[in-house]
C-alpha cells in the first residue's frame, strides 16, 4: 500500500484525522484527542491496515507552543508498514484518553509518560509512577523542571 492510499483509507475511516505537515521519514497523521481511541481501534482492526503493533509511545514537550505532542508509533507486520499518530494537548491541561484497552502494553508506556512528563490518561486502569520513587514531586522530562538536586554547568 502506498502512502497516498494509506492516507486515503485513514481519512475514510476517521474524517477528523489529517496528514501531518511535519517532515518525517514515515507516514504521520494528526488526530484530535477525542477521536484518538476510535481511530486507533480502526487502525488495528481494519483488514486493509492491520496496524496491530504499538512500537512505542512517547511525548514531546513544546514549551514555547505550550503543547504536549503525544507520539504513537504503529507497525503493521502484515503490510510491513509504519505509521506515526500525533495528538496535541495543551500543556496546562494535558489529558488524553488511554489506549490501553486496545494494546495492553500501552498501559506501561503511558505510565512512563505520566511518570516523566505528567500527562494524564483518562480511564487508565493503573496510573502510577513507573521509574521514579512514588513520593517524587514534579515531572523531570518537562522543559520547565527544576529541583534542588540538579547542578547547573558553571558559566
Amino acid at each position: 500500500m502506498t502512502t497516498e492510499e494509506l492516507f486515503q483509507v485513514i481519512t475514510e475511516l476517521e474524517p477528523s484525522a489529517k496528514q501531518s505537515e511535519k517532515t518525517s521519514d514515515r507516514p504521520t497523521v494528526e488526530v484530535p484527542p477525542e477521536a484518538l481511541v476510535a481511530l486507533m481501534q480502526k487502525l488495528r482492526d481494519d483488514p486493509r491496515l492491520s496496524f496491530n503493533m504499538l512500537l512505542a509511545h512517547t511525548a514531546v514537550d513544546w514549551l514555547e507552543e505550550r503543547l504536549f505532542e503525544m507520539v504513537y508509533q504503529l507497525y503493521s507486520p502484515q503490510n510491513q508498514q509504519y505509521l506515526a499518530v500525533l495528538v496535541y494537548v495543551p500543556r496546562n491541561n494535558p489529558v488524553v484518553p488511554t489506549i490501553s484497552s486496545i494494546w495492553r502494553i500501552a498501559e506501561f508506556q503511558e505510565r512512563e509518560v505520566y511518570d516523566l512528563l505528567g500527562v494524564l490518561y483518562d480511564e487508565h486502569p493503573d496510573l502510577r509512577r513507573l521509574f521514579l520513587e512514588d513520593d517524587w514531586t514534579g515531572f523531570p522530562l518537562r522543559k520547565s523542571y527544576q529541583d534542588d538536586f540538579i547542578l547547573e554547568r558553571p558559566k
Partner: protein
C-alpha cells in the same frame, strides 16, 4: 618496571635452630590480597566494556586470584562498581555494601561511578560519585576504562592490602588512591608484572631459606 612495590622477603630465619619466622600480618594480607572475590555491580556500559571483558579469556581476571565473581554480597569481599548509579539504586548499593563481610574493598571504575561523568550537570537522577554512598578504595578512571586499567586497579588494591592492614587495628583503612596507568605501559607489561608478583608471592623456596642456616655442628 616497578609498577607495584614488591613486599620485602617476609621470611626470616632464626640462627641456631631450624625455625622459619614470618609475620601473621604478612600471611593474612597475602592471603586476602590473592583471593579477592568480586561482587559485580554492573549498571551500564562499563560492565560490558571493561568488567566482562576482563573476566573473559583474553584478559582473564582469574589468573590473579580475583576469579570467583559472586552474585551474592555475603560471599564477596571486593565490590567492583561499573556504571552509572542513580538515586533509586543508591539505597540498594548501600545495602549490598553493608551485607558484605569485613574486610571489604571497593573499586570504582569509569567516569560515571567516580563523579557522575557525563551526567554531572542537568541530571535529576544520577549520583555524583559512588563515594557519596560508600567508601571507595581505588578509583579507575576512563570512559570506559580499558580492561588492563582494571587489572592495574586490582594490582593497586592488592598492593594497598599488602602494605596496609594489620590485624592489630582492624578497620583502619587506607586513603583512596587513583589507579592510572603510567604512560607507555602496555597490557603485556601489566600482565607480566602481575605474573611475576604472583610467583614472587606464592613460591617460597624453603630449601634455599633453610640452606642459609648456620647449623650447629654435631647434630
Amino acid at each position: 618496571m616497578g609498577l607495584v612495590k614488591k613486599e620485602e622477603y617476609a621470611f626470616d630465619t632464626m640462627p641456631g635452630v631450624d625455625v622459619v619466622l614470618t609475620k601473621i600480618d604478612y600471611v593474612v594480607n597475602w592471603a586476602r590480597s590473592n583471593s579477592l572475590w568480586p561482587l559485580t555491580f554492573g549498571t551500564s556500559c562499563c560492565a560490558i566494556e571493561m568488567l566482562m571483558a576482563t573476566g573473559g579469556p583474553r584478559h582473564d581476571l582469574a589468573r590473579f586470584g580475583a576469579e570467583v565473581t559472586r552474585p551474592s554480597p555475603r560471599q564477596a569481599d571486593l565490590l567492583i562498581l561499573a556504571g552509572t548509579i542513580v538515586k533509586r539504586m543508591a539505597p540498594r548499593l548501600r545495602t549490598l555494601y553493608d551485607q558484605m563481610a569485613e574486610p571489604r574493598y571497593v573499586i570504582a571504575t569509569g567516569a560515571c561511578t567516580i563523579s557522575g561523568g557525563p551526567f554531572l550537570y542537568h541530571s535529576y537522577s544520577t549520583i555524583r560519585g559512588a563515594d557519596e554512598i560508600i567508601p571507595v578504595d581505588v578509583y579507575v578512571p576512563g570512559c570506559p576504562p580499558r580492561p588492563e586499567s582494571l587489572l592495574h586497579g586490582l594490582l593497586t588494591l592488592q598492593k594497598l592490602i599488602k602494605e596496609g592492614q594489620t590485624i592489630r587495628k582492624p578497620g583502619v583503612r587506607h586513603k583512596p588512591v587513583i589507579s592510572e596507568i603510567p604512560e607507555g605501559v602496555s597490557r603485556e607489561d601489566i600482565t607480566a608484572e602481575m605474573v611475576e608478583l604472583l610467583e614472587h608471592d606464592s613460591v617460597v623456596n624453603i630449601e634455599e631459606t633453610l640452606g642459609n642456616l648456620e647449623r650447629p655442628t654435631g647434630i
